[in-house]
């Protein structure tokens, strides 16, 4: 009960009267929580969108059989139907097309067996033909499709209207026979779907006599596991038999690798926020020491005081967390579309336009805010227990009551850095400690080094101030001297502000370091691999699946007939399942391609590759593949093909960054023989010496552009596109980095405001003896810049180191050891400029407050 009085009469008053400090703390918690909540919501929404699409696409089927991305023979359906317990087995084509209207629109093509698919999926139409029992019957006529009503409305398409769809064989006309109501598959991928007869889909999308999936329905009461077991015996190895839940798990796996880094940065922004809260509570304790003394003298117990301090910040945290959750939802709404597009272009098609909010995420975001505040407030709040009534009443000069001595902090700092080094050694010594070669160890090492170095900010600031006094101060006269002295006076508190800047800058430089390294490595890899003068694709040249519709491999021969073309080499990229993981299967005409476009070898040679790959069951694998699956040249790997498993002899290990799980490259002849796929995504065109690239580009467009949507890019344009795509991939990292920097900025504001308030009397005295307002303001600004630059320099140095560790632990493990670490010098310079700039901004308000100090009031300030 008494604690309620405390909140009412003490805590709430302080929150009210110290608006600026309360708002700054509130904003920092709010931003930290918003970051975490938005990341969680975006992740969930993307995942939900996949799940939702799967559920709608898979209908009532209990099991699915899928094979290579290139499709598998349709006669497998008959075998499946003979398995006991299987009631029906519906073959499905699921591929991508582009609806060509006023705007190009990527759509999913669902090819189904018109006679039996209604047993699995629900289709309904309304309007004129609503009395037709099965809308799929409309598809019996050749060239017919059904599209969702929503798509028809947005594209202004009417029933019986012809629409153009980009297929493997160019732009083809299809007639819209009906508009589907928004249920079942019509709601999948945001309604961007067209349903057609499976035969028509096979013909249009280069999958003659092949299908992508079999959806299986079971007799009631049948044991799914038993059927699964029978199916495994019936169908060739290498096929996947999954339940809907199994597919969701697969997506989770794919998304997790992309999102783990963003999550890490999000949590770092919470840690930066915690530093700020710690600092704010510490400052409050110092400022209210007299008040605490009075309350203690009047009979307030230690626990009442501790609870009050914790309670005050929990009140702020409650409001801040609620606002943070709301802001997080807004951030998520703004970001979800962009993230969905990135994931669509990088991994697989999805359409995420709406966010999916779960109460559990809201609650955990809210709780994270309260918990982070509680943890950050604990030490300073408990330090109030050391304040005795006599200390306050005797007006002893303030000294911060420390639960941790400088020596203890230094020891912990050294221990944490030492721990980080030990963990790194364990991680690197793969041969001796294979169990330690995982991302968790790197995460621990990074955290230990960050916390360890952040604890050394007091010592670092002391060195900076010594440097400042020895080498910078002699260049100035008068007031700047005060800046150094003031910072020295409350060095441990100012060090916390430095630590907040340190965290933000360290993460910024570290992210920049590994992103820059990856970008440079990929670009140098692209330079080495992409040697064609022109690249021809039917979708975005760098997209994986959603926009890129393959072309018949025969098109290459047509391109070669164009005057000026020396050669047009096909390139095919598909996904296959290897040991339960989705790896990339790359296909080129090895002999022709290697004449002008050398691969980068980690193990093996160019000659071996040319000699052993063409026409043989031989492959080269990427470094990532070799490291994930422990493969070396000379080993044999078994790849799943539509005909069943085929052993491939590994000839070499190459550098390749196409997949974080790894890639396998085989000769096109071998590929076509085993996979029966006669398509290509890209043609790498070489122009005859002396011929104009532009002229050939135009000639290709002129010849094929009318019949199909083509991207005809020069090598230079392709590399420019690569650069853009990489930048786009990292855009979320930059956004989260900026938020953590803003929070660090608040840290400086809180520290400086406290410093100004504490020095009210001192400022009054200085003003009374002739110090100008501008001089007061300059001192505070200079203090702010010193704090910012200290955090910036220490953060940049640590960031360079963290970048290297992160690259090694988070990327080299997946993509291979050949990714070189490039120190991001320009980013380091920028980081220091940004930290000084942000510190200058952060110093503006405290400087303004200091400058307008009323001399008479300040002199009477107790």
């Amino acid at each position: 009960m008494s604690i309620l009085n405390f909140f009412r009469y003490i805590s709430l008053r302080h929150i009210r009267f110290q608006k600026t400090q309360s708002i700054v703390v509130l904003l920092s918690i709010c931003l930290g929580i918003a970051t975490i909540v938005s990341i969680t919501i975006v992740n969930r929404s993307v995942l939900y969108s996949y799940e939702d699409t799967f559920n709608k696409m898979l209908g009532r089927s209990s099991l699915q059989i899928s094979g290579p991305e290139t499709g598998f023979p349709e006669n497998l359906v008959d075998k499946v139907l003979k398995v006991p317990g299987v009631e029906y087995a519906a073959p499905v084509i699921e591929t991508q097309g582009i609806l060509i209207g006023a705007k190009e629109h990527s759509i999913m093509i669902l090819g189904v067996d018109v006679l039996q698919d209604n047993q699995i999926r629900d289709y309904s139409i309304s309007g004129e033909s609503a009395d037709i029992p099965d809308p799929l019957l409309f598809l019996a006529k050749p060239g017919s499709i059904l599209i969702p009503r929503s798509l028809a409305e947005s594209e202004k398409i009417e029933i019986d209207q012809d629409v153009q769809i980009q297929t493997v064989y160019g732009i083809q006309k299809f007639r819209v026979r009906g508009l589907l109501n928004p249920e079942g598959p019509a709601k999948a991928v945001g309604g961007n779907i067209a349903v057609m007869d499976i035969f028509a889909a096979q013909m249009a999308f280069g999958k003659e006599a092949r299908i992508d999936r079999i959806d299986i329905g079971l007799y009631r009461g049948t044991d799914i596991e038993e059927v699964q077991h029978h199916l495994e015996k019936t169908i060739p190895q290498g096929y996947k038999i999954t339940t809907p839940a199994g597919r969701t798990k697969q997506v989770q796996k794919i998304l997790s690798s992309m999102q783990s880094n963003i999550d890490l940065i999000g949590y770092i922004s919470i840690i930066v926020g915690m530093y700020l809260i710690y600092n704010a509570v510490s400052i409050t304790v110092v400022r209210r020491k007299k008040e605490i003394g009075i309350l203690r003298a009047l009979g307030a117990t230690r626990s009442q005081i501790i609870k009050t301090f914790l309670g005050e910040h929990i009140i702020i945290a409650t409001v801040a967390s609620a606002l943070g959750v709301a802001l997080g939802i807004l951030f998520a709404k703004a970001a979800v579309g962009a993230v969905g597009e990135i994931i669509s272009s990088m991994y697989m098609r999805t359409s995420v336009s709406e966010i999916k909010i779960y109460w559990a995420d809201i609650f955990s975001g809210f709780a994270a805010g309260i918990l982070a505040t509680l943890i950050a407030s604990l030490i300073p709040a408990f330090s109030t227990a050391n304040i005795t009534p006599i200390l306050a009443i005797r007006s002893v000069p303030y000294s911060e009551e420390k639960m941790l001595t400088a020596r203890t902090v230094r020891m912990v700092s050294i221990l944490l850095v030492f721990l980080s080094i030990v963990l790194l050694i364990f991680y690197k010594a793969t041969k001796f400690f294979p169990v330690f070669h995982n991302k968790s160890i790197i995460f621990l090492s990074v955290t230990a080094i960050l916390v360890g170095i952040s604890l050394s900010t007091t010592d670092f600031l002391r060195w900076v101030l010594t440097f400042f006094q020895r080498f910078i101060l002699p260049l100035f006269s008068g007031s700047p001297r005060l800046a150094g002295l003031n910072l020295q006076k409350n060095i441990s508190r100012n060090a916390v502000a430095v630590a907040a800047v340190f965290y933000s800058i360290a993460i910024f430089v570290s992210s920049a370091g590994f992103m820059y390294s990856i970008k440079e490595s990929i670009l140098s890899y692209t330079d080495s691999v992409v040697r064609g003068d022109i690249l021809v694709t039917s979708g975005h040249p760098l997209s994986v699946g959603s926009q890129n519709i393959p072309m018949p491999v025969e098109l290459g021969k047509e391109i070669e007939k164009i005057p000026g073309v020396l050669s047009a080499d096909p390139f095919r990229k598909t996904y296959i399942d290897y040991s339960g993981k989705r790896v990339v299967l790359l296909t080129v005409d090895v002999a022709r391609r290697l004449e002008y476009s050398p691969f980068m070898f980690a193990q093996g040679t160019h000659d071996e590759m040319v000699k052993l790959l063409p026409h043989n069951d031989a492959a080269v694998v990427s470094e990532g593949f070799a490291s994930h699956f422990n493969v070396v040249p000379g080993d044999t790997i078994t790849l799943s093909t539509p005909q069943g498993p085929v052993p491939f002899h590994v000839v070499a290990i190459i550098v390749d960054y196409m997949s974080d799980v790894g890639s396998v490259l085989v000769d096109i002849d071998t590929y076509q023989r085993h996979w029966g796929d006669m398509l290509a995504e890209t043609f790498s065109v070489r122009v005859k010496p002396g011929e104009s690239i532009n002229t050939v580009q135009e000639a290709i467009m002129k010849k094929f552009g009318a019949n199909r949507k083509l991207f005809v890019l020069s090598g230079r344009e392709f590399k420019e596109e690569s650069r853009k795509l990489i930048d786009q991939t990292f855009i979320m990292h930059y956004a989260v980095n900026i938020i953590s920097m803003i929070i660090a900025c608040f840290g400086i504001i809180v520290a400086l405001l406290a410093s100004v308030l504490e020095r009210t009397r001192e400022i009054g005295i200085l003003r009374s003896i002739g110090m100008l307002r501008s001089q007061v303001s300059r001192v505070v600004m200079l203090e702010s810049v010193i704090l910012g630059i200290s955090g910036g320099v220490l953060g940049s140095l640590t960031g360079v180191l963290l970048g290297w560790i992160s690259l090694d632990g988070f990327y080299r493990v997946d993509y291979g050891a050949s990714i070189a670490y490039y120190i991001p010098y320009m980013y380091v310079i920028w980081a220091i400029i940004i930290s000084a700039g942000l510190a200058t901004l952060a110093g503006l308000y405290p400087a303004h407050r200091a400058a307008k100090t009323n001399i008479v009031e300040a002199l009477n300030y107790e």
């Binding site: 009960m1 008494s2 604690i3 309620l4 009085n5 405390f6 009469y9 003490i10 008053r13 302080h14 009267f17 007299k290 008040e291 003394g293 009075i294 309350l295 203690r296 003298a297 009047l298 009979g299 307030a300 117990t301 230690r302 626990s303 009442q304 005795t388 009534p389 006599i390 009443i393 007006s395 107790e862």
Partner: protein, 229 residues
């Protein structure tokens, strides 16, 4: 009855021990008005802080109505301060964020009693100190004398057994000081036990007994009449 037996206090500054009080033994009866005088640094405020349970003796024993103030847990000592002692400070020590009324009610608010229940008592006390028109004012809106009167009202809110005043007029002009002296005398006349530290002999005259401290030792302890005789 307030009793001090062989009370000593030593402060530690770094590795140096600074003795402030030496073997003080005093006994104060309820209803007395004791003035404690002595030069600056003699230890008189320390003695008052020990009696009020704000500080703990290095050795010796202190009792208020047989309740020991020495060697007890901090929370127990805090509750004694809250319920049995009223304190008036030289610099008032009012909380700037609270109104006069809230400052006066603060010790009871600490008890968990809502302001609505103690409002009439607070109003009565503020009327008693002549501040009935200033109840909603915050300390910054009051004069020094008014602030001290609020502090007196606050010290009385728990009906303490003893009222301790540390240089209560040390920061006031002569007119305000006079008002405060009259108020304290009136309270004593109503039966309130008061112990006041002062270096002002005029202030000391308000009391009924005068204790003098010199260099941490009890120099004299006499009825004021005897001293003035």
């Amino acid at each position: 009855m307030i009793e001090l037996k062989e009370v000593s206090k030593t402060y530690t500054q770094g590795i140096k021990n600074i003795p402030v009080l030496h073997n003080i033994s005093i006994s104060i009866k309820l209803g007395e008005f004791v003035s404690i005088m002595g030069p600056s640094g003699s230890g008189k405020s320390t003695l008052l802080n020990l009696i009020g349970g704000i500080d703990q003796p290095t050795s010796g024993e202190i009792f208020i109505n047989s309740k020991p103030l020495h060697g007890i847990k901090d929370d127990e000592l805090t509750l004694i301060r809250r319920k049995h002692v009223g304190y008036i400070f030289q610099f008032f020590n009012l909380l700037p964020i609270l109104s006069a009324m809230e400052n006066v009610g603060l010790p009871l608010l600490l008890e968990g009693i809502p302001l609505s229940k103690i409002k009439s008592k607070v109003e009565t006390l503020l009327q008693k100190v002549g501040l009935e028109g200033r109840m909603e004012h915050r300390p910054e809106q009051l004069s020094g004398g008014e602030m001290q009167r609020v502090a007196i009202a606050r010290s009385l809110i728990t009906d303490p057994e003893v009222l301790l005043a540390d240089e209560p007029t040390g920061n006031l002009d002569s007119r305000s000081s006079e008002e405060i002296f009259n108020m304290l005398k009136k309270l004593n006349a109503e039966g309130q036990t008061i112990i006041m530290v002062t270096h002002d002999s005029k202030a000391a005259d308000c009391g009924t007994r005068l204790i003098t401290i010199k260099d941490g030792f009890l120099a004299s302890d006499k009825k004021l009449k005897e001293v003035r005789a």
